[in-house]
Symmetry: C2
Subunit: 364 residues, 2 copies
């Protein structure tokens, strides 16, 4: 038997990690709270909470390396596995940073990475102070636990503060400047155990209702300087955290500048295009990195786009009839707002890609 | 749950079929005589002989479609599943043809497809007659059951006949002209349930000791006419057999001419390069075809080569350090002459591909 990789979390990211790892001779085990987790098709699934250290230890037992596919995994779980002798990568310290928006942005600033202005908000008076310091419009967010646009309220005028406080108050919060960005981009980076790094080309992302809808890569018209800035930002975080694996940083582009919004210490939705659109996918390179193997080329292969299927899958035959289209069904029950699959489209050039995207039965 | 595909045979071809099918939302079940079959990592494996119709029926029960990954599957097994109401694709008639070298070459000739001269050999006198008709050098082969160079003897002079007969006689045989070919190529074709067809670019194959070592695609210097001839040959076979799925035909190239050697009614070793080197892999298109879905583009993505790992795997890190290299470990126990994995290398052009192949720790 080949090496076993233990994965904390058994969602679609774990599923796609395993699809990349089986050809490499790897076996997979997963920990997930739900018995129907999408990764269960690819290896044994232990059903348990991610904070259940005993269940996590069963999944990690004998594994060559433990990794995670969700930044919400309690850092304590990861550290308890380390204390029992497991190798956990990316390092659990990345979870501490990713789970607290204030810690995250403080780290960015300390490393010279531009971010929108922000201020922690601990009580109602603190909210007034923060609004005074940052000015409106701004976004009030929970410091912990929000994702896909949940746990946040946009404040455009002082009259919005009361409602926002009633909804979100009582938990540690952060107020962030609402940046008039031109577009959202992300940089996907990978760092090996030996410190080698590689970067995929910048991705342009379009969100709707707080959920990623479409990623295009390489991002159209990204100046060389913009790519270099993004790589420099990512490299500082990778080195600071002694990071191993794939890291994603979401950024706002404002003119030639990039402002870091948040990081994800894992394979990322905006990197799914790499399965068909890059020489080496984010999933394969994450595995290569955490196992101490040489990283693969991150060069793009033509132009790519990824469209999330939210709530339900589009008609499969209609998708497959589009040249260069690939269908990814996570085998999740349909539910409003749920990511149940994605469609990737590749093309030799941007023009052809646009034509093909226009044929998609899901609105890109 | 998505549709289930039942696969007769659980080797590396079944494993790679499942790796292509899981993203499409498919589930897989396999029938294989060995409990350690490589496909077992991707779905439930029923351990049983491929001629065991009851075991096959258990695998096929409730499946959307039944397919096979080996041309040695008894056609009776396939037909027994059809008689119980299963859809078996490619059609079992393709097995009849593929399992008998005389039937195969007779079909080629009937369809106007050039082949080396051949004659059936049923007894010792028949061997003399055949040598008289075809001339030496020639190859004496068993009509059934040979693969990877097994069950055949090259005859270069009349003195070779006695030994060859002692080794192979007593079974139905075929004598085939030994063609002084320039190279061996193969054409991979796919036909959908609606009769739509698609063809990958010609592959150049190099065998050693009767086993495929290296495939390169698109085959260097293949004139447009040669590609067209190969496609015409394949199309005639596809239409004649009312074929659905991927079909491979191995051919000898002699000057501008192509002579058909044999066909394989399944995904094929010389098509493994399509996983990374084509817009749609042979595995995905086989599944699309047998499920009645639209076929995907067979266009190549740059230049590709596939090198089989025979007997044992090469050093994984050394392979992964080569740009554009992808490692495929079938998780089979090492054994002399056994295909235990393959390495694919992709590159933007033939020159870069040659440089990368020269870096391979396995001799290409």
């Amino acid at each position: 038997m080949g090496d076993v990789v233990a994965v904390l979390g058994g969602g679609q990211l774990g599923r796609m990690l395993a699809l990349a790892g089986v050809p490499l001779g790897l076996g997979f085990r997963f920990l997930d709270p739900t018995a129907e987790a999408p990764a269960g098709a690819l290896g044994p699934l232990v059903v348990g909470e991610l904070g259940d250290t005993e269940a996590a230890a069963r999944v990690a037992d004998g594994a060559a390396v433990v990794t995670y596919e969700w930044e919400g995994v309690p850092a304590d779980t990861a550290r308890s596995l380390e204390s029992r002798g497991a190798t956990v990568l990316p390092p659990p310290g990345a979870l501490d940073v990713a789970q607290d928006r204030v810690a995250e942005k403080t780290l960015f600033r300390r490393l010279g990475i531009a971010t929108p202005d922000f201020a922690p908000v601990d009580d109602r008076a603190g909210l007034d102070d923060a609004v005074h310091a940052i000015d409106l419009p701004a976004v009030l967010k929970t410091r912990r636990g929000g994702y896909d646009g949940k746990g946040q309220r946009v404040l455009t005028k002082s009259g919005d503060l009361g409602d926002a406080w009633r909804e979100l108050g009582g938990r540690p919060l952060i107020l962030e400047q609402l940046v008039p960005f031109e577009r959202e981009v992300s940089v996907l980076a990978v760092r090996g155990r030996d410190g080698a790094t590689a970067y995929w080309p910048l991705v342009e992302n379009e969100h709707r209702d707080g959920i990623l809808r479409t990623s295009r890569a390489p991002a159209a018209g990204a100046a060389e300087g913009t790519q270099a800035t993004a790589e420099t930002y990512a490299e500082r975080v990778l080195d600071e955290l002694d990071y191993v694996g794939v890291l994603a940083i979401e950024l706002f582009q404002v003119g030639p500048d990039l402002l870091a919004n948040e990081l994800a210490p894992r394979v990322h939705n905006s990197g799914h295009w790499t399965i068909e659109g890059a020489v080496t996918s984010q999933f394969e390179n994450h595995l290569r990195a955490i196992l101490g193997w040489p990283l693969g080329s991150t060069a793009p292969v033509g132009a790519s786009a990824m469209v999330n299927c939210i709530g339900a899958l589009p008609d499969r035959a209609a998708v497959l009839a589009i040249p260069g289209a690939h269908f990814h069904d996570y085998q999740k029950a349909p539910r409003p707002g749920r990511k149940v699959g994605h469609v990737s489209v590749t093309a030799p050039d941007d023009g052809t890609l646009a034509e093909r995207l226009a044929m998609l039965p899901v609105s890109p």
